[in-house]
Symmetry: C2
Subunit: 335 residues, 2 copies
Amino acid sequence: MPVTIKDVASLANVSPSTVSRVIANSPKISDNTKKKVYKAMNELKYHPNAIARSLANRTTKTLGLVLPSTEEDIFVNPFFVQIMRGISHYAQKKNYYIMYTYGKDELDEVKHIENLTNSRRVDGIILTTVRENDKCIGCLREIDYPFVVIGRPEDIENILWVDNDNFHAMYRVVNHLIQKGHRRIGFIGGESNLYVTQNRLEGYVKALENSGINVSKDFIKTGEFTEEDGYTGMKSMLKSQQPTAVVTTDDIIAFGAIKACKEDSKDIAIVGFNNTLLSEYQQPKLSSVDINAEKLGYFAAKLLIDKLENNNKNGISNYMIDTNLIERESTKLKV
Amino acid sequence: MPVTIKDVASLANVSPSTVSRVIANSPKISDNTKKKVYKAMNELKYHPNAIARSLANRTTKTLGLVLPSTEEDIFVNPFFVQIMRGISHYAQKKNYYIMYTYGKDELDEVKHIENLTNSRRVDGIILTTVRENDKCIGCLREIDYPFVVIGRPEDIENILWVDNDNFHAMYRVVNHLIQKGHRRIGFIGGESNLYVTQNRLEGYVKALENSGINVSKDFIKTGEFTEEDGYTGMKSMLKSQQPTAVVTTDDIIAFGAIKACKEDSKDIAIVGFNNTLLSEYQQPKLSSVDINAEKLGYFAAKLLIDKLENNNKNGISNYMIDTNLIERESTKLKV
DNA sequence: GTGAAAGCGCTAACAG
DNA sequence: CTGTTAGCGCTTTCAC
């Protein structure tokens, strides 16, 4: 029933291998036979069977995308959807397909990765989260399967990854605030042992130092990525210090900080991170750093596909994606 | 390098076909040889090659998911993410995989569908939007490829689909408002030629009639799915009628309606639809109908997979998914 | 430049 | 119950 390469071959009066060469656009095929073959393909409405090709040349042209399924992550944050689009964007360009799976937790993710790779359904894997001592990375490394990570892993040796330049992102935000006249600027971050937190904190410190502003421990709070810790961080800072501006490492933290300011009727400039959907719906509308998730996805796909196609001559193993401060009401005022 | 069925066969001292039967869990295999084979598989860490299986039995165990990439749709609305999870949930249960593609527009979607189906990468397709005179459906029908659509198509003959019971959803919402004492209830809907709009309107009408409340054209507005049309619809209703409550067919419409009420300082009960993320962040928090998108995805996958596996004995060709009124501040008050 | 033949790894008759 | 034998549809040496 389905038309195969043989049908095309006999109609065009050539051998199957010739047709195959035409499909692969082999250089050593006369223009004449090329034409003949194309004609036959059109007449028969021939379309190569991807599965058969995959079996023969041991490559599926498919990438596996592993998504976490934590409620908060997935819903409040357009992050993953944007990443998916970015990936899709580059993949389509290169004629790659994407299979996605949701993992209930880290172990479940590992299980899915094993399924995907053992069955050879995919040529490579894209990881969308990094954890401490990441088991997914461990597993992929062990079986030596191509993969790329969105977010900077602890141990980057021999790993493809993309991430924002968190140092610069925060550096620029703080600088911007300084330009606006702020001198007493606080920092409220998530877990202090995370790279993101550390890098963003460094950017904060550097910006202050560069402007000759004293960096004080009392202006630096870290905790969890929760509204609550944003709230308490802000509260305690308000009590002892008199910040005129506060930068945070996540919108959710910023939301808590806003709440604290409102309670104390303090008018303080606040900046969030990740530019989540809700930032625009705060009172005041929250200025936030857009991390360009779509670009993260795009370059993750690029890194992986380039490797798969051996186009990685330049040896690039990671990309730093730029960020954008989206300025809204919360940082409108000059001091 | 990779271990194949042959390796297992020779280690277990059986033929490849026997191993194949063990993999497929064929009933007519003695427990003894089953054990032998399993042992060999474990020792060799054998994993069947999915591609080879697909080629041999002409089935890929993967579904193609076609997503629209309209900004608004994708971002503001957790709809698609939820659908993806639902699909994934059922698919994983049945050991199916999902490939997704984004279509820039209808034609682009058709192109992707053709790619997916012509290359035989997928066994079936899941459509997440329905348009008037839908080209995707047309194409799929023509080539007679299994598919399911989320949303009720115009012509449902021989088509698998899932949708909410829009009639009942709205019927119950209006009833609920009536219980609360409302008698002057307005309706603001999207495009009047769409099924959703019509069905929801019918539910609205029926509920009023059942309670012996007069249905007046002046209480019914339709337009586009925009904040603007929600706003103007509300404005004009406020001018001529004195509604105490208004139901809408989309949160975005409700947002506009809220705005209009605020401007005129009218305290009117308002209900949205789709329970989007932002509904909770309105002032007042918007009551909205949750359409259970995850369930829509789940049952879409079920419908399609059941068909593919010929488990569709009962001949079910669609599911109606229940909805849930999420009550928030906007309908708190009794009249 | 093009064809013949072997094979990718697995499944599915058909025997026995 | 199990083995033998052909393929599934395409690619890829290796000749010519």
